[in-house]
Symmetry: C2
Subunit: 359 residues, 2 copies
Amino acid sequence: DREKRVAVLAGDGIGPEVMAEALKVLQAAEAVFGFRLQCEQGDVGGCAIDRHGHALPAGTLSLCEASDAILFGSVGGPKWESLPPEQQPERAALLPLRKRFDLFCNLRPSRVFPPLAGASPLRSDIVGDGFDILCVRELTSGIYFGRPKGREGEGADERAFDTMCYRRKEIERIARKAFEIARLRKKRVTSIDKANVLTTMVFWRQVVNEVSRDYPDVQLNHMYIDNASMQLLRDPHQFDVLLCGNMFGDILSDQCAMMTGSMGLLASASLNETNFGLYEPAGGSAPDIAGKGIANPIAQILSAAMMLRHSFGHEAAARAIERAVEETIAAGVLTRDIARDPAQAVGTAQMGDAVASRV
Amino acid sequence: DREKRVAVLAGDGIGPEVMAEALKVLQAAEAVFGFRLQCEQGDVGGCAIDRHGHALPAGTLSLCEASDAILFGSVGGPKWESLPPEQQPERAALLPLRKRFDLFCNLRPSRVFPPLAGASPLRSDIVGDGFDILCVRELTSGIYFGRPKGREGEGADERAFDTMCYRRKEIERIARKAFEIARLRKKRVTSIDKANVLTTMVFWRQVVNEVSRDYPDVQLNHMYIDNASMQLLRDPHQFDVLLCGNMFGDILSDQCAMMTGSMGLLASASLNETNFGLYEPAGGSAPDIAGKGIANPIAQILSAAMMLRHSFGHEAAARAIERAVEETIAAGVLTRDIARDPAQAVGTAQMGDAVASRV
Ligand SMILES: CC(C)[C@H](C(=O)O)[C@@H](O)C(=O)O
Ligand SMILES: CC(C)[C@H](C(=O)O)[C@@H](O)C(=O)O
């Protein structure tokens, strides 16, 4: 059993700061649980454009190929905003990585930590003692990658087009993931579609129904995307696992994340079928607070915990980190974004220390 | 100047009840403002499937063709839910009407009435004294109507696909509408796209930028759809007019509607370039409360007001109805869905009377 390798791509903005804390917490977990990870850094995003002319340089890609998981920070910032949208760091780094490693299964948990329920933009009687929604998003197909796409024609008839496409096997494998995970949770899957308009989504619904026959213990219902965006606000507690295609999952997972009010706490995992995964915070690179030592490292730390669970099978260590985060929050050790009283807020490194010491 | 004709399609569920109140209020407006509308009823939706085998029977379509506007109730209900999604009443009635009459411009105002701000699912410090967002949604193109769409292949490779397509002229005309309307409001347009992923949306952004040069007095910014679904929750006051393609507008307009907490109050208009329009409540047919005389008729009444404004140029009458609605709400005449104390709630007809008497 060789030492597992992690490609550490900290990226831009607050990426490097919060990554340092995640590595600190990983080291604490290594010491406690007696495993070793070999972490190697690579350039990605805007800083990689500056240094190598490309958001995902060849060297970074080889590093990822030689690794068992990617711990990703965040990319992008005002410096690169004038680039054409399709060349922006986020897109130019993430989409090729997803496709190259077949990271079809994106897990985005949106959970309210009870002591922080007040941070949710939703009314307290709707948040209650917190909700816990897991968005399972298909990440390598759909309209993101469908062919053909292009531009043609001239004058008033000039046009652009994209193709939304789903294959049976693509729907099957993400649906299975959703049902499997629901079994470890509240056993409820809500499949999101727009079957009343899109041919792709009629097929999506059909295949999800077929897959669901293998999971009679999991309750399945179907919901149109427009209705889902309403129902989430009306009563988030009605949801357990959301099963979404690529585009709808992009929208709903961000809506769910913002509904928690604590983007700085949310992790995500993008997995393929061989336990390889890319792990990254749900939030962005927050260039406005970069370099100030005040960013919240929890999302990055919880992303590292997801990595231990999904890529390395270190379930106990993952839980220990998650518990350490909960205890840290319960103890009132909070960065500025989630502290009730900013004067009492701790910095990035203190927050990392507080978690590491509790692992 | 011949008498203007209105095709009145009440539909299913609460449709007929709330439509009766809208017609009552229109009559009051006719009396006060001295115009006459010729209203004729037609079958649509589930009840039309039952009676004629089709959600949009030929007779109803001819009625619409002979009219100057369509006042639409709502369609659908559990009785027709077992039909294949693409045959469901809502879709089978609305999509053909939109296409047949080239109703490319969908206006969906989401406004919080200050006395009802507490109904919003958002925290009161976020709602403040109410927000007012107008979603301008392109309604006859995009992935809803793009060709080709279909299914092909077999086994694991069986697949379904849809085409998202936008032509320059389609983007131009909806963008112009958004800028024109913004001029009558706070002069801010936020154009929603996913230009970092979709070729169509790169083109969308480019054409919107070009159109914006004719409106230097209106402030334009661009926002990715996923970010928009977050920003709306974080601070709805940052938005004035949202300019969206068909699919994204479907999702965001429903999110905005639910954010008000009073779906029963929200109207919508779907217009073409000749002042012809279809006017309908934002909410659904609410089969659970149909026939009980407790549904809120305000959304239908405000849809009728939008019809007077956009199809018939009766701006004063439209305003009088809108003012009458505001006064009715301020006076505490409220149906069950918006009443703080259900014991004090009035019925559908009383609400209609209260508005009609104030026109
Ligand atoms: C950057 C962008 C391409 C990406 C996406 O749309 O998937 C991002 O929004 C995300 O959700 O990870
Ligand atoms: C019924 C459906 C086809 C329709 C749409 O998606 O446009 C509806 O959701 C709407 O927004 O009017």
